[in-house]
Symmetry: C2
Subunit: 456 residues, 2 copies
């Protein structure tokens, strides 16, 4: 009965919950761009104040980068820790947005009502599902159902440079029985999911320098090495003809999918053609002979996230540039060692740079994959709670995205994480016109209330 | 005697001539960027007014792009036409300039006094050498030594889209006995040169589209094709291991260097190590077995002048981009057919694009190489006049840069061109901190006075 009261309270409070989310979405907390530093700070302040309205002792905690927000609510039963991040991705290319990314609005679409704006799904909307569930619980019961710690990060989209030092410095304060992380998706709009396999991420930026200044391609072309040519050869060599990554030792620690998991995934009925078709593609680009779900959940990848060099403005400029750069990232699985792969990648690149050119490397994050242990009965109880809320039963799935914090929680705090989120594949996270379905938000809040009831 | 008087006048007028050049350099006439359209127009107005001070009937002549400046001075003897261009290259990367590119100044350097600013060498300073020679001649003699037409273009740095239509529409007005073009360089600071071989230019911009929107590399990486990967494979395939360009049919019409020209070039004592060393390189990047002068004067090339795709800002963004673009140019020699090569290049690129990706092409100029006929005795007279001014005798040389106008003058007006210029290899044209030596400017003006005397 008491859960039903909480769920009713969530339903009636939805308009106000949406208003609160809109406030948070209006703060352009882009962590990767130093120009937005004060906005990231402002988003942290907003969250501290919001947690305080729940009677939670919360504070902004400084780091050498953007601040963490930490709050503690006392209570009986298990000690749960909830993690989300309040920073967002950059918004470029801005001209592809249909409205200001930081002027969010509710929009009716053929697939339902959505919240449109940067961070609506990743991760402000998701973060607030848990906060709103707690707010409703508190309103109905006067207190939360368990001892709960809140831990919000402001650097998730920029490689989390302060996360590990902060966890190490405050391990005793932050350690709980179980972490709840809301930064993943539904399997499909009707099927909720608990993500138990997460790919790791290795980010590398390489800059090739050829001539020590930009040259005229007429005066020097043919005789002087062009760094774009060097960079293109390196990138072209990163995959072989079958789509496999060629970095030496890359597949060390990459496990084959166990038969039972493979069977479970096949039963999900993943529509590869529809998945690619929604983004205008028709061919799987990964390793030959792998299923689509393997490619995005359980196989490692190499992507070029950005490339630049020479003149890229309007018109044409016959420059032979001094420098060319690329941002390259690797998604990692199993026990692939990111630092070992970084060394192997850099050695491979160095071997392809002509003697009179040079290469500089900048590392952007290096986190291994995470595979959750689902033997804790809490996983099965949460799966049942989710199944009660949604049309179809919840599934244990993998995720292509990297959520390194789960690995750090395990390594540094010895704490398992349960990854539950309500994003959809078409949320356009990291892209122009990001959205979050109002249904994801509403049923997400309700799902957390059910899970809190089930775990306590 | 009268030539000496003109030369003395040039010497005494040098400070005023530098002042006039500074005025012209302050106008940011970047033709390739639409934002500077009114400035390109303003530079044309400035030149019209300056020619009028010489008593020359001059006017700005509209085209569908930037205007031409045309002036005619009556006179006896041969009809000469002088060509230069008043538009300049873009200035990016702006942060590598040591001062505002359009706030020029005279600077003392270890190699002598220079005029620093965008366009100082390419081509405003060079253009003004001829105008100033005419000004001195007129001041001394009251008239010019021949019938001279002035033809200044404002689109040379953006592919000259209006040039051919304008030449065709005004062929009778513009046709002269010989064109004088000042947009080339000295062989070295002591050795003047008449350029008789000019490479042509084919410019191509290609844009690869993979997914129809930017994607999250975690959600899609491994399954969705990355257009940067497609583009890198194309660029990497444009040269083979020996440095030859792989576009089918590329070497059709590329002649071997005649033995006499090869011997003449070998006698020039070109220091390949010093040429590359000045820009921080040590290895020739062109076709194996070719000399450095061949690589930059008489062999065709393929360069990537710019590349872009995905996130190139500060930090890291795990985007799998929808599009990737490159600006690619080919320097052409002999009788290579630019339009045929454009077709062959595009067919090769199309063949490398996966079925579910697409490619768009934008052409940026297509001009064949020019090889001058030096049988006209004017060439030898001009060579002698140059040799009188400079420490070492003038040479007939090739040029890596493309000056398509010489080919158009021949094809459309049936007019030979004599290319004489005073730029140095270290002028940083098309690069940050462009300069023109005051000696180039001063002796350039004196050289034109001597050439006018020799040709008339």
């Amino acid at each position: 009965m008491s859960l039903d009261t909480v769920l009713s309270r969530i339903d009636s409070d939805l308009p106000d919950a949406l208003d609160r989310l809109m406030h948070l979405l209006r703060i352009p907390s882009i962590s990767t761009d130093p120009a937005y530093k004060s906005d990231v700070d402002g988003a942290a302040d907003w969250l501290v104040e919001d947690l305080k309205t729940l009677g939670i002792e919360a504070a902004k905690r400084q780091t050498t980068g953007h601040p963490m927000v930490v709050g503690h609510a006392p209570g009986d039963g298990p000690h749960l820790m909830f993690y989300g991040h309040y920073d967002v991705q950059p918004v470029d290319p801005l001209d592809l947005w249909h409205r200001d990314p930081f002027d969010p609005e509710l929009q009716d679409t053929p697939k339902g009502r959505v919240i449109r704006g940067r961070g609506a799904s990743d991760d402000k909307g998701q973060l607030m599902t848990f906060v709103e569930a707690c707010r409703a619980w508190k309103a109905v019961h006067g207190s939360l159902p368990a001892r709960i710690s809140f831990f919000f990060e402001g650097e998730e989209e920029s490689g989390s440079p302060s996360l590990v030092p902060f966890l190490k410095a405050h391990a005793d304060e932050l350690r709980a029985d179980l972490a709840l992380i809301c930064d993943t998706g539904l399997f499909d709009p009707e099927t909720p999911a608990i993500t138990t396999m997460l790919r790791g991420l290795l980010g590398e930026e390489i800059t090739i320098t050829g001539p020590d200044k930009d040259l005229h391609s007429g005066s020097y072309g043919g005789m002087a090495m062009n760094p774009i040519r060097v960079l293109a050869r390196i990138i072209a060599a990163l995959h072989d003809e079958t789509g496999r990554v060629t970095v030496p030792g890359f597949y060390d620690g990459v496990p084959e999918l166990p038969d039972d998991i493979r069977a479970q995934w096949e039963a999900l009925g993943f529509d590869e053609a529809a998945f690619l078709g929604e983004v205008g593609l028709s061919q799987k680009a990964g390793e030959a002979g792998r299923s689509g779900l393997e490619m995005i959940w359980s196989r490692p990848t190499c992507e070029v996230n950005g490339i630049s060099g020479g003149y890229a403005g309007d018109g044409f400029k016959t420059v032979l540039p001094s420098k060319a750069s690329a941002k390259i990232s690797f998604r990692l699985v199993g026990t692939q060692d990111p630092l070992k792969l970084r060394d192997s990648f850099r050695a491979m690149v160095r071997g392809m740079v002509p003697a009179d050119c040079s290469v500089e490397f900048t590392g952007h994050g290096a986190s291994p994959a995470s595979v959750m242990s689902t033997t804790d009965p809490a996983f099965e109880r949460a799966r049942q709670a989710l199944s009660d809320e949604w049309p179809r039963d919840a599934a244990f799935i993998g995720s292509g995205g990297s959520i390194p914090v789960a690995g750090y929680f395990k390594d540094i705090l010895g704490m398992e994480s349960m990854l539950i989120g309500f994003g959809r594949d078409d949320d356009l996270i990291h892209s122009p016109n990001e959205k979050y379905d109002v249904e994801s938000f509403h049923k997400g809040i309700r799902s957390w209330a059910r899970i809190l009831a089930a775990l306590t």
